[in-house]
Subunit: 357 residues, 2 copies
């Protein structure tokens, strides 16, 4: 068995990967514009080295589109029953990235008009890596908090059965027109469940401390971990944060909560009913754009000037993924050969061109 | 040396403790109404067992009031340059609990009127335990996110010198008129700096894994830890969360950032210039109060029904502090004798009645 870092990979040029993903989505009935959104979100994750949230999810999404468990042409409904700043959205069981992207567009419009706005989204699906939405908003000068719930991953504190999702918290902060936004994106579990799914797919063990099996005992077996629970970050603190995300994304939106968010890998009869909560702030309501950029750059410089520890120099969130992004954009996205086989089996079944030589 | 749990304590009846703190604050020039607010916030922390954020802070606050480093009658200024939903507040260097309480009142008014509102606060001071503000807002049916920065506590990832505060994140969620709100309140450091200050005061060692000394090496010496850095929760993830809190509380508000937030224990010449960021949401913009209460109770019941681990049964955030609250309200707040000596020395100096028999 190879370790995860020894996996043999092949670099796929980015235009080829985009073309492929877009063609796949359109082949199963997704309109061109929506296929482009889903492709953008997934390929951007691969570009930043987050392969667990990249095109590795395409077979899952396609399988559920084909089974009628995700709507290719969702009827998306927004309403603001009380105030234009607090928006409810029914995602119509569309592709997660499409629903989440449209939620982002709507909430950023709200923030531009009113300074701050939030959208609570029900009837959505797995929406990829949250940083994509933060990047989209922050590139327009807006701060975004992006939250989503997900199928049970984390056991409640004192419990042995997964209940809460691995509920990520993502923030995007603009740094002015000439600099990429600062992106923060983290699961409230020790690892994203995608890493365990990836390990299970590659038949690799997982480190002790990531998860417990269904018996509540720590395990290194990825399959057992998927049946058990991932551990929250920082013990009870991570549990509390995951709970806050569940309340905001699931409970306030009217989406599924806990086990009522269906696992798309194991439940082949129900829609997932994932919920999201996005909150956008226009920082120009507090200070001019140039002052914000100055202060953000000043903070970055001050952080980078802190004397290094043995693990130094000082890093900012996103440093690594920005470096990987540039490399992958130039040389292509490295996909492991197991995944490539899976994607090409899908290509063959859908009768479209495959990936790679 | 005694361990922390062996500290000899004496229970002080709550009315006595409140009367004492209020008298102290008024004695050094704080108006009655503001003294009552500061007293409420500090004693509520003691009631919930968070003694590091309780009346143990009174001597610090008083010392700075006396030295002119905190304004007893602050000139507080609100403005909304662009929109009524995004509020700027200059705390006028008032007592932190007074400034934060008034920020909470203003932002909850905003959320009631517009569905959602935020306030960015500059020129404030240490404001006690954040849950107090969440409780205040949630008791009125509003969700509150309460953030504050604080003097350097956490080193940036890859650095060896404290830069970011231990920057807590607190959420309050209403559970309908008949139930106490759900309160989440956690430092983004492994421990609140208050615990290390407390250990240093009691001359107790701290556990390995809480902090590094000024040389970047892990330490069990509380004094060394105060000169070094507290470790963030969950490694780089906690660092990222602390950074988000610093940006929202310090950078957006125009308050101090990093080392420009002055440590009130060691800097006797500058105002602290702490920043806060409070965000309130009216959940009735999304669903009726009764439905929210039903959903919150349903979530709680479902969580508590999860089979217990060996650390079970399942707990919700705030369970422990709610139990301690009821006990302390009935029997009095247990204060350790070292602290009681310190508070009574202050009473004597201010020529007011002391605490205890």
């Amino acid at each position: 068995m190879r370790g995860a870092h020894d996996a043999v990979t092949m670099r796929i040029p980015v235009p080829d990967l985009r073309q492929w993903a877009q063609t796949v989505f359109m082949r199963v009935g997704v309109p061109r514009e929506d296929a482009a959104i889903a492709t953008h979100v997934l390929v951007d994750a691969d570009l930043r080295g987050k392969h667990t949230h990249g095109v590795s999810r395409v077979p899952l999404y396609v399988g559920r589109l084909e089974r009628g468990l995700i709507a290719p042409r969702p009827e998306i409904v927004f309403d603001n029953p009380k105030t234009p700043t607090m928006i409810r959205m029914d995602g119509g069981n569309g592709l997660g990235p499409v629903v989440a992207w449209k939620a982002t567009e709507r909430v950023t419009e709200g923030a531009r008009a009113y300074g701050i706005a939030a959208v609570a989204v029900r009837h959505s699906n797995h929406c990829g890596a949250m940083h994509a939405y933060c990047l989209h908003a922050a590139s327009q000068g807006l701060i975004l908090l992006a939250l989503t719930n997900s199928p049970p991953g984390i056991a409640p504190w004192g419990g042995r059965k997964a209940f809460l999702g691995t509920n990520p918290i993502a923030w995007g902060f603009p740094r002015g027109p000439r600099q990429a936004p600062l992106l923060i994106d983290l699961a409230t579990s020790v690892v994203a469940r995608g890493n365990i799914i990836q390990a299970a797919r590659l038949n690799l063990p997982i480190p002790l401390g990531w998860a417990i099996g269904p018996d509540g005992v720590p395990t290194t077996d990825a399959e057992q971990a998927l049946e058990g629970a991932v551990l929250p970050i920082a013990g009870a603190k991570g549990y509390a944060l995951a709970l806050a995300v569940e309340i905001l994304s699931g409970l306030l939106s009217g989406a599924g909560i806990g086990p009522n968010v269906k696992n798309p890998y194991t439940d082949n009869t129900h829609a997932s009913n994932v919920g999201h909560f996005f909150l956008a702030i226009d920082p120009e309501t507090l200070m001019p754009e140039a002052e914000l950029a100055d202060r953000m750059n000043g903070l970055e410089q001050a952080l980078r000037a802190v004397p290094p520890s043995s693990d130094g120099p000082v890093a900012l969130p996103g440093d690594h993924s920005e470096m990987v992004f540039k490399e992958n954009l130039q040389y292509g996205v490295p996909l492991d050969l197991h995944l490539l086989d899976e994607l090409n089996a899908l290509s063959e079944r859908l009768d479209i061109g495959g990936l790679g030589p």
